[in-house]
Symmetry: C4
Subunit: 239 residues, 4 copies
Amino acid sequence: MDEITWHRHTQVLLMVASLVYLVAYSWRVIGALTGTAYVLASIVLFATWLVFIVDYLVRLALARDRVHWFRTHLGTLAIALIPVFRLVLLLRALTLVPSMRPTAGTQLRTKIMVYGAGAGILLIYISSLAALEVERAAPDGNIETFAEAVWWACVTITTTGYGDFYPVTGTGRLIGVGVMFSGVALAGIITATLASWIVERAASRGGDDAEPATRGQIRQLMAKVDALGPQRPNDDRRE
Amino acid sequence: MDEITWHRHTQVLLMVASLVYLVAYSWRVIGALTGTAYVLASIVLFATWLVFIVDYLVRLALARDRVHWFRTHLGTLAIALIPVFRLVLLLRALTLVPSMRPTAGTQLRTKIMVYGAGAGILLIYISSLAALEVERAAPDGNIETFAEAVWWACVTITTTGYGDFYPVTGTGRLIGVGVMFSGVALAGIITATLASWIVERAASRGGDDAEPATRGQIRQLMAKVDALGPQRPNDDRRE
Amino acid sequence: MDEITWHRHTQVLLMVASLVYLVAYSWRVIGALTGTAYVLASIVLFATWLVFIVDYLVRLALARDRVHWFRTHLGTLAIALIPVFRLVLLLRALTLVPSMRPTAGTQLRTKIMVYGAGAGILLIYISSLAALEVERAAPDGNIETFAEAVWWACVTITTTGYGDFYPVTGTGRLIGVGVMFSGVALAGIITATLASWIVERAASRGGDDAEPATRGQIRQLMAKVDALGPQRPNDDRRE
Amino acid sequence: MDEITWHRHTQVLLMVASLVYLVAYSWRVIGALTGTAYVLASIVLFATWLVFIVDYLVRLALARDRVHWFRTHLGTLAIALIPVFRLVLLLRALTLVPSMRPTAGTQLRTKIMVYGAGAGILLIYISSLAALEVERAAPDGNIETFAEAVWWACVTITTTGYGDFYPVTGTGRLIGVGVMFSGVALAGIITATLASWIVERAASRGGDDAEPATRGQIRQLMAKVDALGPQRPNDDRRE
């Protein structure tokens, strides 16, 4: 079996593993688990982690040119090693919706907006969980409930930053920095998509006749001009 | 009577109901009503709510294909159920202004800016009212007057977030999140509209002769070339 | 003497009056004037105010169609009544620089950037002065020196909003709201100008031959095709 | 030896001096040096400063037209006088990467993004160092460790501004203002680059035939039409 066949068969399994990871992590943090339940949730998290590592190693082993495969699949490595990147797989599931495939401007913009919104929501959710986990443990931390963590993440991703809640641990601040910069990027995506839409709408003023001439039209015209040619002697045609 | 006729006749009534809703809600919150006055304002609010629900049900009943109508009028359902969406009707009143209909780039941009400003002002106003209502009741809340609530909404919609005022209740924070994300979207609309304007101005450098050729021009040219053709024998015309 | 001649002669005087206004206001606020000095500065401020009012009334009187002039000069009325708008005249002085006149894309963008930067600096300066004047007088105000006011204005116009300084009076908050929204608009102008530049640069890939065909080229081509025509009989030319 | 030859030979040396400057400054601030170590680091900083001043003076002396050279090399003067601008030389090193040279849209955007990211990271790093140095010395300052300074710089450059850390000294606030405005500009660069990408993608809908006609195509077509001409008498050709 080659690498592509393996990947086609395990793709859905990996998406499910991502979802299991998300649920188990949510349960461990929001439920503030202790004792057996904590151990159980941690085992599930470790198991999903193992699934990704094993899948990565098998794909590497099955690849024809391993060095080439390694260099062109750094994203897959990141997904295998860093749990949070697995959520990208959940976003990728959105492409399975038939109308999501990009053809024209509006569909491209719809796709970008759906991906952007999905990424934003997942980011707020997962960073709330992660920040809550580390900040709750800190003695001088101020983020203590999941609701507060979500509120903090929303205040941060929009770069509002009231300062009623903020991370005080190194890890918490790292998460915060990630959320802030993602917020700037997401605001950029929203603005850029709107700009593309307005530029396009503003340009289409006077029906098809006022649209820019196309290369196809010129080719058609050249054929017409060429058709005039053969009847005359000494015609030096040039392309 | 069919659904479209009904809607044409009740459209203005619904706009008036939206306005009554806005005034009654403002009065209840800003006036900090108690006793009979509170009950009276609440009855008016309930009455406007009922008007929208009844209108929705009548339109659904009058529709030819009810399933199709339901699926294509989810916005109308949202307006009927969630009072704040009714304000969209007030914005829609702006389209009645004749010069507001979009034709060319500048008019499209003017329309977007007018809508954006209208939506921004309405959003600041209604979210100030809503936040004041829930935060004033909270024992540790810090938004206590209407002026403070408006100041908070402005600080939030621009994503400045001083942190001198911030919501502490769940509902208040939900309103805050809505205001923040709307602020990001409104900033995007302003930027995108400016970008469209600058791109268009920067492109129109050297009069009409330097504008991109149009499809209409090419069609005119093709007609000219075709006109040359018929006089010659053995002309194999192709389109 | 007609209105246009009057305006041409008084234009520079009004710019000087704007500058005098700015200096006198700065002196009164930063110097924290009291006694005779305060009265003196206030008289100068009143005098510049009077200059604008008188100029407006004279221009209205000299105008041929007063109703038309009034309707098309609402900006002039605003400048006459509200001192801060006079600074627009100082910005307008930038157009006197010869290389500032817009012709091509780059010059348009340069002009927008120069205006934007000028407006931003003036806005930070004047709003710092105004906020300092009202906040210093408030018992629970926290903006007490000019340096603090400028810092507050910069933190506000970029929508950073640390919350170490913030207005507490109604007038101060009104100024703050103005600065915030201007900040959003200025950020939009910067972004839009950059976008126009990148879109233009990204489009010009392969020299002149890869640029979109122009309407002028098509007209030239039509003339060529027409030139082929006259030699043949039964030529029905159409434009 | 002329100025250009000198510059070609010293260019790499200056980049190395910039790097030495960066390392020595980092060491002095992060290490919180005192005594001999502080003196040593300061001597190294002074030495790199001297290298830039001497290089500037030599280039000015070697220049053919010194007044012209001075006026067209104000940036070089700024780099010589203000240490932080030297980091621009480090960014310029990125152009040495072969694939970084701009030709088409995607490469232009890649270049802008790489430069933007580089500038952002350098700015966060150097402003953290500078702010830490001045704020640590202030009695009421709240930025006391390098980690806190980096966190503050990130919170500031994204214009989030929690207000848990903020500069209290004049120099610190000047640095803060620089970081904030750079943050607005960097957000603009990200948004504008995304907008250019989306506009381009949205425009390329239907393959090459639907792209706007090019000037090169029209020139080819004109040559074809001209080729039809010579066979006929009385041909008044016009260009």
